[in-house]
Amino acid sequence: MTVRLTAMATEIPERLAPSDLAFDAGSVTMLVGPNGAGKTSLLHALAGLPGSSGKIMVDGHDTQTLSPVQRIRHLAFVGASRDVRWPLLARDFIALGLPAQSQPDRIDEVLVSLEAEALADRRLDHLSTGERSRVMIARALVSQSAALLLDEPIANLDPKWQLAILTRLRAEADKGAAVILSIHDLDLARQHGDRVIVIDNGRIVSDGSPLEALPASIIAEVFGVTRKSDRWVRA
């Protein structure tokens, strides 16, 4: 399988220990960990945000050397915030994810795939938090980037839209993207991830297939919970 994104010695001092990681094309990787464990820091480091160090390569290109337009084609990032910085129409907001303004049809395709056509001509600040989440994910999908980094993309969504987004991200992976997202629901992480990375105190403590990376011992140690019949209880 082709490696799409590699991170070498990537770190954020005092928040994320140095790590070397590689993410395959066509894979969905779930980042899990308790609050404040370093999931957002790892995503920030993979996106090459200020404050992080190390080398991020996407399809063999060092992202630091790419122009913004080239970088959009290689890497799309959705942050954890759903705050509206500027009250654009949802369609105009999504259009800012296009590497060039030449493919407006792509906006409609993505909106249809997320069943969000009705949101297109509404102002972002007039949408609910969940609706904003879908628009922000649509903005990332419209870029058709090789690597997709999403910080808790389903945090504000009801179960129906959680499944819809995870299915849509799987479709993106099937087209060849490396999809990396943070998530709190361990069941969904197991069901929808090809790979799970467990982070605690800024360190990767487990990395592998969902079954390998999330044994009961790790869950009890890192999250302080354990499975009893169909419920999570405190360990």
């Binding site: 996106a47 945000l49 913004p68 500027w86 009250p87 654009l88 129409l89 800012l96 980094l149």
Partner: protein, 322 residues
């Protein structure tokens, strides 16, 4: 904004520059007939610098306002927020007291120095990361300090004439500025304008959120510092030559964004054109004041701009309702 709209706005600007040169009409034909040499001096050395100053000053106010609003994600922000206008005004008034109002260049240098000190103080207070809220608070604090300093300077004026001259200058005026003064204001303003226009794509994508724009490869921290520096230098130089003119930097971007689908970055150039149109129009309008009265241009822009500002706040309040 479409190419034809740019051409339309460009033509309006040219028309207003021409109008600014020939208005008031009644004196010019006589002068050309009786003393053509003097007529060309009036046109070339008095009216042309005045028209071009209005063009440049309006354009830099419009462009800076659009850039600052995009940067601070606040449609009510204006170039004054950097403290540059206040710094320039204080520097110019202090310099005028030291060397007198007869030395326009000294005043302009004092103004730029004042804007530069205000800018240095702002960047020092805001720190290397220069976060938005800190910058905003630092700008407000500096504006308060420079405002108090200017009021103190006026209160301690060495003579009633010095007080009147300083007060008159603070109200803003484009009258009797030389070609050299025009160059002093125009060169920094044009350099700042070019830089601000280049920031348009990054400022548009900043609407997605600072972290998203940075993940796209835009260096937002550096751009923030540079936009503040460009605004302080461009607006500071213009304030030094013409005094403070308010509201253009607030109104221009709001009108421009109606032509750019609300996008804040791509509104920078249209806002520069609208700013130029507004200030050229205001400068022509003040010439129709009663013959024995002078209407300062800064007062006119404030009289027209303040109700607009109020309606903007009211509309924002209305649209914020669920």
């Amino acid at each position: 904004m479409s190419r034809s709209l740019y051409i339309g706005f460009g033509l309006i600007v040219l028309l207003l520059v021409a109008a600014s040169i020939v208005i008031p009409l009644q004196s010019l034909p006589d002068l050309i007939e009786n003393d053509p040499g003097l007529a060309w001096i009036v046109i070339g050395e008095l009216r042309l610098p005045r028209a071009l100053l209005a063009l440049v000053y309006g354009a830099i106010l419009g462009a800076s306002g659009a850039a600052i609003q995009a940067l601070f994600a606040n449609p009510l922000a204006s170039p004054d927020i950097t403290g540059a206008t206040g710094g320039a005004a204080l520097g110019a008034v202090v310099m005028a007291y030291l060397i007198g109002f007869a030395s326009p260049f000294g005043i302009a240098i004092g103004g730029v120095a004042g804007a530069g000190i205000a800018l240095a103080l702002l960047l020092m207070l805001a720190g290397p990361r220069a976060e938005t809220a800190t910058l905003l608070l630092a700008g407000i604090a500096i504006s308060a300090i420079t405002g108090a300093g200017t009021a103190l300077a006026l209160a301690l004026a060495p003579s009633p004439f010095a007080f009147y001259d300083a007060y008159d200058w603070l109200m803003g005026s484009l009258v009797d500025r030389s070609l050299a003064q025009l160059a002093f204001a125009a060169l920094p303003a044009l350099a700042a304008l070019i830089y601000l226009a280049k920031c348009a794509p990054a400022l548009d994508r900043l609407a997605l959120g600072e972290d998203v724009a940075e993940a796209m490869g835009y260096n937002i921290g550096a751009m923030r510092r540079n936009i503040i520096a460009a605004t302080a230098i461009g607006v500071g130089a213009a304030v030094s030559v013409c005094g403070a003119v308010g509201f253009i930097g607030l109104v221009g971007p709001v009108l421009a964004r109606r032509l750019t689908g609300g996008h804040p970055g791509r509104a920078i150039l249209p806002s520069a054109l609208i700013g130029a149109i507004l200030l050229l129009s205001a400068d022509i309008a003040v010439r129709f004041a009663p013959p024995d009265r002078t209407l300062p241009i800064g007062v006119l822009t404030a009289i027209l701009g303040a109700p607009f500002f109020l309606s903007l706040v009211a509309r924002m309040r209305w649209s914020a309702r669920p």
